[in-house]
Symmetry: C2
Subunit: 468 residues, 2 copies
């Protein structure tokens, strides 16, 4: 597929064919468990229900589009990571879904919180997370953000550039080194991984981190170790996103741990920590088979143990930063269908365009990354035969696609509720007001009880910024 | 280039080379006029100034990132369209930049306003535009939006589906046909155009419109003509975006005007209007050479005249819908540089990563469409040699790129002001709060005077939606 244009891709479509991984389902009402939070079932009456609350009731109470988060599912995913990675510190990457309630849940399950900005920090503090359990990331932290990290005594700052080191030096110049700020160096190891692929090179062409192979990591470590008010904890690396197995971590861990050992030797002290980053994938469609937290833990621990053994060093205290893997599958988006249009796309074929009351403003990932999602009829079951459909939004742009390809019952009609699972990560957090669309509310459901954790925006909210 | 991943494209980079169209400038301080609004100059002291106000003063007064709109430039672009298309009705596509001030300016210059949602309508009404100068678009208009169109007496509704026709029929059933609502049929002509290319097929695989070739346009027209409270005005077509010449309009106009004539014959009345849509392009970089409004008008009028002559019909009343072409070049984004990092990307080459205090939250177009932009040092001139650079944001994602390739003076450093021109369209209107980034303010400058037309969001604004 070509890149999105504002008015659609400039290419002819020969016909309508489902992608090779997408088979027409035997029963279009069956839910594929890996795509949904554990609390979601289709009731005997045909309706989707989450943690005992039906979607029709949710739509009536809170309106659509609506993000629906299964609280227990978030908690259990956090617990699964905590159990599998028992010897690690686990930072929830709050950028995936940044709400005080979600942050509070995962903190209650024992996770620390990773933030990338003053705004995310504000939400973590609102959630009641103690500063000493919050880490700060970012390639371009402002002086204000760094000063907050110092003044609040955050768990750690992951340092990303020499400019940042200079800033930290200046900001801590007049500080007594009584309670030094823990820092790590974000290293680039030359490894980039997605799904089942990874590539390993000497260099990376991206904005984050300091290169191991160029000696920047070691130099940064030396500079940081020389600043009295800082406590250099170790090296941080992050290799990619939506990663399904640990193969990419092998080369990365080898390089990072070798650097950890070398920097420790050079500094004459053993750096206590190593962070292996996040990027653990989830299932968006039937074709996705991500590893479980336990499989990831087994894989990562084996890799680290082997490398440390080979290097003749002790295993450092390890940390990881899952975000999507905790909150992604725990939520779905509930839409109301507005128009249904069979569009003839060739002499032989037509495609069903199903327009919902949201779109690229609440899920930019389809247009931005060619991300694939699934969808199903949510308010009722249907005995109609499945029909290859495309779920689109209501925005004034033909690239406004929510689900590229899905089999929906052919009797889908205006007023139907439609659910798109796996939208917990990077949907609400990247939402826009394109076409002045107020952003959806977020409802949390737990044990038969539904409550809003983020309220719906209103047109008045939007107008409040407009000074006329 | 491959599609963006959340953590960067999975590919090795052989080295650093500027794209073929991007030459190192003789003088890195020279502004390329077509990229900037008319009020922007570099002063003798080296600073950028817009309509007599220096960017340093703007940054001090309003902070960065900041959208800076040149009011006179918006007005003159609107006037240029009004002059060139004197016999047309011109609808400003407010989705491009939806603020009450901008809408008021273009309305004062004689343009009508196109909105796609209740939210955009609210802004147009706030701007004081009379309903009879506002048109409503959209593939999935809600009942609420259609009722507003009827009750307010909008200039017209561009009807996009048979579901919408059913909704209009129901909503107007009990209405006396005294002041019927003007409607048009959005037709798909099988033509799609971008920049200098277009393709013409029998079918289109997209959500908008009703197919001419399948007879849907004619059927929709007949259904609409039979609804007493509606006044069918004619056919609407839109062929693409960022279009530089009128070649794509030739096939489209032929098909649309033939349909206009056929539908008129079938209905036994001459439909009075045809809309040719928008999509007129602007220059984002030196490689772009869009047509002027006069060239577009000359081209379109010649095409329509020839087709009408060939069909033996009178030329209908025409309308067009420019958005980007009016507001795009009239604004730039002012950023402050936070970190500068030379990144070694191969044995021979390094790339300068210049991080600014905004990013994909205020300009998603680079990541979303592979859009190209330019940038320059704004707060001062520099005699340093040009260096191939990449302007990136402060978001926690390696795809967070603002300007893919640009020559910046090699002495660019933290604290420098950087300006990215051509950001008036689809930047603020698609802005998000990713990483809890508050959205930038928008300052309008006119004749030495700067004032905010949209205030900066605050972290408190964001927290107000979070119910904890």
């Amino acid at each position: 597929m070509t890149h999105t244009h504002e008015a659609g891709a400039l290419h002819a479509t020969a016909g309508v064919r489902a992608p090779s991984w997408l088979a027409p389902p035997d029963d279009v009402n069956t839910l594929v468990p890996k795509l949904w939070s554990q609390g979601v079932v289709r009731t005997a009456a045909g309706e989707l229900e989450v943690a005992g609350v039906g979607v029709t009731e949710l739509a009536e109470q809170f309106g659509t589009p609506l993000f629906v988060v299964d609280e227990l599912d978030v908690r259990e995913r956090a617990r699964d990571f905590a159990r599998a990675f028992a010897s690690f510190e686990i930072f929830y990457a709050s950028k995936a879904f940044c709400s005080a309630a979600v942050i509070r849940w995962v903190a209650e399950e024992g996770l620390s919180i990773d933030v990338c900005s003053a705004g995310e920090l504000a939400v973590a503090l609102k959630a009641g997370v103690p500063p000493e359990r919050i880490g700060l990331h970012g390639n371009n932290k402002t002086e204000f953000e760094l000063r907050q990290a110092i003044d609040l005594g955050l768990r750690r700052v992951v340092v990303d550039s020499f400019d940042e080191i200079a800033r930290l030096r200046a900001l801590t110049a007049d500080r007594a080194p009584t309670r030094p700020l823990p820092v790590m160096v974000r290293a680039t190891a030359g490894v980039e991984a997605h799904t089942h692929e990874y590539i390993a090179t000497a260099h990376e062409d991206q904005k984050f981190g300091l290169s191991i192979s160029e000696g920047e990591t070691a130099r940064a470590a030396q500079e940081l170790a020389a600043i009295p008010a800082l406590d250099l904890r170790g090296i941080h690396s992050h290799i990619g996103s939506q990663i399904f197995d640990t193969s990419g971590f092998e080369v990365a861990a080898r390089r990072v741990l070798a650097e950890h050992a070398a920097v420790s030797r050079a500094l004459g002290t053993v750096l206590p920590e190593v962070d292996l980053g996040g990027g653990f994938g989830i299932a968006y469609t039937t074709q996705d088979e991500p590893s479980s937290p336990q499989e990831l833990a087994d894989g990562l621990i084996a890799i680290v143990d082997a490398e440390c053994h080979a290097l003749g060093i002790d295993v450092p205290h390890l940390s990881i930063e899952p975000g999507r893997a905790i909150v992604g599958p725990a939520a779905f988006t509930l839409y109301t269908v507005g128009t249904v249009k069979p569009v003839v796309v060739s002499r032989e074929a037509s495609r069903l365009y199903v327009s919902v009351d949201g779109g690229m403003s609440d899920n930019i990932r389809t247009a931005l990354y060619n991300a694939e999602y699934s969808a199903c009829l949510a308010g009722r079951a249907s005995q109609a035969p499945p029909r290859l459909s495309r779920v689109v939004g209501k925005h004034c742009e033909s690239g406004d696609i929510v689900v590229m390809d899905e089999f929906l019952p052919s009797d889908v009609h205006p007023g139907d509720l439609l659910a798109v699972p796996g939208t917990g990560a990077y949907c609400r957090s990247m939402a826009s007001n394109y076409n002045q669309a107020p952003r959806p509310a977020v409802a949390a459901v737990n044990d038969g009880d539904a409550r809003l954790i983020m309220r719906r925006e209103t047109v008045d909210d939007l107008l409040a910024l407009d000074l006329g």
